[in-house]
């Protein structure tokens, strides 16, 4: 067996419930991003661009879309004779059959996969951030320090540091202590959830902690290794790194792509982001189309007006429609004379004619005010919006709605429609 120096384990099993109805039917890493991508494309592309050609993707929550998207890894050149990408869902065992109960537990249940490649180092990644990072440089740092664990950290503004897990490290990067969401942080170096472990250290820790319920990297494994050896290092990263865990940050990260020179630049040739798209047809703007500060995916057909928006592959914006400050995902359809203001419209949604999305005054969401904030209209994939209805702010819709679902043709701000049989 050819030995791999480092393999990556990508944790993609979480629901990402703070994305509300966007993850009603798909895992967060499979949610569309930036017109043609899905969130998981970013860590997968980073892997292949960093020379990490063996990736295990741990799936659990609603993995159908992830499976079809990743396939055998062709778009990322991860279809390798030895290595490549492997999807790792939980499986039945002779003595026990458990779901993945925590991030580290998921890795523990796949010890055999890692052992197959007999690596020296294991890279642990999450599937919910937008960034470009060279993991090879991080590995060089790890080797230079002779570390047991290296944690990628990013300096965040001090006032925001209390939202993160922060590390307190010395000049040389040696980690002294950790604080989880500290009210008064003593450091502003936030952990990015990206770890390089020396494999024998990780293996020992996973076996030692195997009975720990909900075994988690941040809560159990790293403190355990730190206690034992005090040989954990912090690798400072200063590039663009965006958590897209909430509807607000997801919307913001998309909107940052349309800046004139975006901080996160997809147009650089040397660090391409790859995705699985077999549609490559050109996009079309009609005689009456108006476009103002947008990015538009392949095969979109624009007959109306789009402003400050991210338009996905194969979207149709009909004549007279106006889309502003919105994210329209792949294959959605916006009918004639419909106005869309600040909305996230998921894949293959059909919005009828003459609708108005994002009307009225602010009202907190009745169903889950923490998730559905930011004044956004959020519509789950494959939903249908009938003709001539108005929809307020902080609203969410799942399923094929009919005019009866809109008393007086209106869904007021803060309201939610979840059709029977659907979940949010």
């Amino acid at each position: 067996m050819i030995r791999k120096e480092m393999i990556a384990m990508l944790l993609a099993g979480g629901q990402g419930s703070r994305l509300g109805v966007l993850t009603a039917n798909v895992a967060k890493p499979a949610v569309a991003f930036g017109g043609k991508y899905r969130i998981i494309d970013f860590p997968l592309s980073n892997c292949i661009n960093s020379g990490v050609d063996t990736v295990g993707v741990l799936t659990q929550y609603r993995h159908l879309r992830l499976n079809t998207h990743i396939g055998i890894g062709i778009p990322w050149d991860l279809d390798k004779n030895h290595g490549g990408v492997t999807l790792l869902p939980p499986y039945e065992k002779s003595d026990s059959s458990d779901w993945y109960s925590g991030t580290a537990n998921a890795i523990f249940q796949n010890l055999e996969f890692i052992e197959n490649y007999n690596p020296e180092y294991v890279l642990i990644l999450g599937g919910d951030h937008i960034y470009k990072m060279d993991y090879e440089m991080m590995l060089d740092f790890h080797k230079a320090k002779g570390a047991d664990v290296t944690i990628a950290c990013m300096p965040v503004p001090w006032e925001e540091a209390s939202r993160f897990g922060v590390v307190i490290a010395g000049e040389d990067g040696n980690i002294k202590d950790f604080e989880e969401k500290p009210p008064k942080p003593s450091s502003n170096l936030a952990s990015m959830g990206i770890y390089i472990f020396t494999w024998k250290v990780l293996k020992e820790a996973l076996i030692a902690l195997k009975d720990q319920p909900g075994c988690d990297f941040g809560m159990h494994v790293i403190p355990y290794v730190h206690e034992k050896t005090h040989n954990c290092y912090c690798y400072e990263f200063n590039g663009y790194w965006k958590d897209v865990g909430t509807l607000g940050s997801y919307w913001e990260a998309n909107m940052e792509l349309i800046d004139i020179v975006p901080e996160f630049n997809l147009y650089e040739e040397f660090w391409k982001v790859y995705t699985n798209n077999d549609i490559i047809k050109p996009q079309y703007f009609s005689e009456n189309a108006v476009v103002e500060k947008c990015i538009v995916g392949e095969g979109a057909e624009i007959y109306g007006t789009i402003e400050n928006s991210v338009i996905g592959d194969g979207v149709v914006i009909e004549e007279g429609a106006v889309v502003r400050n919105s994210i329209i995902m792949q294959n959605a359809y916006i009918g004639r004379n419909t106005v869309v203001d600040k909305a996230i419209i998921a894949e293959a949604v059909k919005v009828g004619e003459g609708c108005h999305l994002g009307v009225g005054e602010y009202a907190p969401n009745v169903y889950n005010p923490k998730v559905y904030a930011f004044d956004l209209v959020t519509i789950s994939e494959h939903s249908v919006i009938p003709d001539h209805v108005s929809i307020g702010k902080n609203t969410a819709i799942v399923g094929e709605t009919t005019p009866e679902d809109y008393p007086d043709g209106l869904l007021a701000s803060g309201q939610v429609i979840i059709k029977a049989g659907e979940t949010a």
Partner: protein
């Protein structure tokens, strides 16, 4: 499988002018994201033909580069696959392909080593969509020796004189072939797609070669029209041959029509091409788009009207692009005006320039200024 495919992509066309300096006609970019050969290859793939050969000869670097992987058209199979057949010197042969029949004859082993009973032959410089199985079914039903797909002269009034004109009897048997006639009674033309039994093709090619005849149309179709049963098959729907500057320009402009786009891309049997992994196209303040086709990777800061932009085109501020085709990877500096032009790929157009052609007399712009890297 019932048939193997042969795509003839070796030809040159003097009517392509300086556009042919960079590539064979079959490698010409079409409709924003594709190359001409993609249409034939996608038709093969969508017709479940798994073993396909592409005969290349003239200026094939760009074409071969495009064909560097068979996976885009789903030909990366254990059975069959994509075969690129270039002329080679052997003990028996020391010449280039001397014609379309000779191109196939020189690769006789490809035919002899196959076991599929039929061969579909098509040219790579035509833009069309077709299920070859339907044509094959008619071929079998009619007990034909050769079936030739025919179409009518394209709508934008292409020059009849560059095609082969057919005359058929009531049964659809082709009675008369006229190559490149000065005047013609019929507007029915040969679409360059043929079905023939593999063993018969081998026989006819060997016979033609022994008589030093090398052209498929002249030395097989025309020669055997009396003694063999050659039937026509109507190709319904869009068809265009791109091998002149005007028809190349018009074919691209046709994709500005919704019916043409829906026809080619609308349903699930789409057109495939090499994936280039370009990001979504980006429109900055100042961009204005009217009746325009744009591909991924473009960044637009100016005005674009009635035009087709291929991949990775940068349009500077205050530019006006009108009735033009900009091929892939072109940088256009600020304030430049381009009208009725085809701009060759990988060029850099300086700021504050004006390039104008006339409708019907399209100007080809080739600039090799140093690239300003963004």
């Amino acid at each position: 499988m019932r048939a193997i495919g042969i795509v003839l992509a070796g030809g040159n066309s003097s009517k392509m002018g300086i556009l042919a300096e960079k590539r064979a006609v079959s490698a010409m970019p079409v409709a924003g994201s594709y190359r001409s050969v993609d249409f034939a290859l996608s038709n093969m793939s969508n017709s479940h033909i798994q073993k396909v050969a592409v005969c290349t000869q003239f200026n094939a670097r760009s074409l071969n580069q495009h064909l560097n992987s068979s996976k885009w058209w789903d030909f990366g199979r254990k059975q069959g696959g994509l075969f690129v057949l270039t002329p080679t010197i052997t003990l028996e042969n020391d010449s280039w392909y001397r014609g379309t029949a000779d191109a196939i004859y020189q690769n006789m082993d490809f035919l002899k080593d196959s076991h599929e009973p039929y061969v579909i032959i098509t040219s790579a410089d035509c833009v069309y969509k077709m299920d070859y199985n339907k044509m094959l079914e008619q071929h079998i039903a009619k007990k034909a020796d050769i079936t030739v797909a025919y179409t009518h002269v394209p709508e934008h009034g292409d020059d009849l004189r560059r095609f082969g004109v057919l005359t058929m009897d009531e049964d659809g048997r082709i009675r008369e072939f006229e190559e490149k006639p000065e005047t013609a009674d019929s507007s029915i033309i040969n679409a360059g797609i043929y079905v023939i039994r593999r063993r018969l093709l081998i026989e006819l090619l060997e016979k033609a070669n022994s008589e030093n005849r090398y052209d498929f149309v002249k030395d097989i179709l025309v020669r055997y029209r009396e003694t063999r049963l050659i039937y026509g098959y109507e190709l319904k729907g869009y068809w265009s041959n791109i091998a002149t500057v005007d028809s190349y320009f018009n074919t691209n402009m046709d994709f500005l029509r919704r019916d043409v786009r829906d026809y080619f891309f609308g349903d699930y049997d789409g057109i495939y091409s090499k994936i280039e992994d370009q990001p979504p196209a980006k429109y900055n303040p100042g961009a204005s788009m009217k009746n325009a086709l744009v591909s991924s990777g473009c960044i637009i800061n100016g005005k674009v009207e009635n035009s087709v932009l291929f991949r990775k085109v940068y349009v500077g501020a205050n530019c006006v692009i009108r009735n033009s085709i900009i091929l892939n990877d072109v940088y256009i500096g600020d304030n430049t005006v381009i009208e009725n032009c085809i701009v060759e790929s990988r060029g850099t157009i300086k700021a504050n320039e004006v390039y104008k052609g006339e409708p019907g007399n399209i100007r080809i712009v080739i600039e090799e200024n140093d690239r300003y890297r963004i």
